[in-house]
Amino acid sequence: MFFQQIINGLTVGGVYALIALGYTMVYGILELINFAHGEIYMLGAYLGIIFLGIFTAMGLTQYSLFLSLLLTFIFSVTFCSAYGFTIEKLAYKPLRKAPRLSPLISAIGVSIFLQNYVMLTQGATDKVFPHIMETTKIEFFNATMTALQVFIIVTSLLLMSLLHLYVMKTKTGKAMRAVAQDKVMASLLGINIDRIISVTFIIGSGLAAVAGLMVAMYYGLVNYYIGYIAGIKAFAAAVLGGIGSIPGAILGGFVLGIIESMGAGYLSSEYKDAYAFVILIIILLIKPRGLLGKSAKDS
């Protein structure tokens, strides 16, 4: 039971962490809570169904499942990154100098718009994600792990490592950290702030798309409002880890996923969504800036 819940927790935790990274990166740079981020995750799931459907109709899935899935991921990520990029340019950039509440309201507006847009074009009923990965199971310590769970955990960890390397080692990654620390100074050194912000939205949206696709594969069902709850939970994960901190978002995502599945396993699954928030409140009472948040003096 214990190991089973850990495995389930790591699976959803990896997904929460991928979404949380987008919240935390945007917050780190713009101090904006991008409420539309959950919808990008939802779009990723829908685009996954659409593209996989197209590749299946073309006969590609039957020919090579791997190739078909790979292309589905690439296309969904590209489209979601384009959405993220466009949303920033249209809804946030014009409000860069406005009072802080304005971009927040704009974000909520984008979120409502995207939900309704998907509801109108895709319908309000659940969509089914085809069951494609065979249910190979690995058994150990009285627990079973499906191939899909392995895939989700490995993919999340891989993407997180790549993001970490990108932010720590590349020139653009370093510039992202510089912009998060002092925008005026970054401009004085010749860093194009608008470009860095765009890159941040593109990366964050791409990660959310992968998360959406993996959840669609995991649960098999997709709806136009899945971005709302997942978005709030991932945001909670980002706050739990310390908003603005990339390792914090990763830790927060996994902690949240494990708490949730432990609660569902040992207590009752009816209150699954509530455990996370109870723990969030307790941790924030003890550590107001989150587990890995910057302390007031060096921020």
Binding site: Q181, V184, A186, S187, L189, G190
Partner: protein, 254 residues
């Protein structure tokens, strides 16, 4: 080299710079002094493009730059060490310096993109001379080399000022704007900073220096401007200004 014509800069409704004219010629050290709140930092931020002037124009090497975004002004060859040093506290010394060279490398990349090679180079070729510039900075301030892997926020005030100047030099600028580089430093660092300014200038770098330490600054400068409540009230040769009766009374405490 640099020419400001009737520059007016506002913060909202507050006019902080009220029509200043100023010029800096190639190879000069020009010093800008004035009491607190006179508008000196505002003037520098307007030159760097962080603040946009409401009226007037700025020419750099004959080109209008006051409508350009800050990053393009940097790539034209103007670098600023702002007031308070503004070191990135959670980047290492080395990373702070690398950020100083940001514009150099992006310029290179755009050159590469115009003529894409068949196989893109795996490592970027340093045609912008960033490595030589880094060596020069380390030669100037050897502490920075010792502390290159330390976080910027852990340096002392004097070391941070050296890092700030070193970082601004990484783009190999033609004109360096310095905003109160000696402020809050121990005397030994003040001497070091002033010595460095003189050295850089003798190697051909043009410098616009804002200073509270008027005496030392005027001794260093070819020419000086005195600002008060947003206006230039006096200008003259570096050697002459200290003998002006008003200046003596207001800024030199004599």
């Amino acid at each position: 080299m640099l020419l400001l014509k009737d520059i007016h800069t506002f913060y909202g409704n507050i006019e902080a710079v009220k029509g200043i004219d100023l010029h800096v010629d190639k190879g000069e050290i020009v010093c800008l002094i004035g009491s607190n709140g006179a508008g000196k930092s505002t003037a520098l931020m307007t030159i760097s493009g962080i603040l946009k002037p409401k009226n007037g124009g700025i020419l750099f090497e004959g080109e209008e730059i006051h409508k350009l975004p800050p990053h393009q002004i940097v790539s034209r060859g103007i670098s600023q060490v702002p007031e308070g040093r503004r070191i990135f506290p959670r980047l290492t010394v080395m990373e702070n310096l690398e950020m100083g060279a940001y514009s150099v490398n992006s310029y290179q990349l755009s050159v590469v993109r115009k003529h894409p090679p068949l196989i893109p180079p795996l490592t970027r070729v340093d045609t912008g001379g960033v490595t030589t510039q880094l060596e020069k900075v380390f030669e100037l301030f050897s502490v920075l080399k010792e502390r290159r892997n330390q976080l910027g926020g852990t340096l002392s005030g004097g070391e941070q000022q050296m890092l700030a100047i070193g970082r601004a030099l990484m783009s190999n600028p033609k004109l360096l704007l310095l905003d109160e580089p000696s402020l809050g430093l121990a005397p030994i660092f003040v001497i070091k900073i002033f010595k460095t300014i003189r050295e850089l200038n003798s190697e051909g770098l043009t410098i616009l220096l804002v200073e509270q330490n008027a005496k030392a600054a005027l001794r260093l400068a070819n020419r000086g401007y005195v600002m008060e409540s947003g206006k230039v009230i006096k200008e003259g040769k570096g050697a002459e200004l200290p003998h002006d009766a008003d200046i003596k009374k207001a800024y030199l405490g004599e």
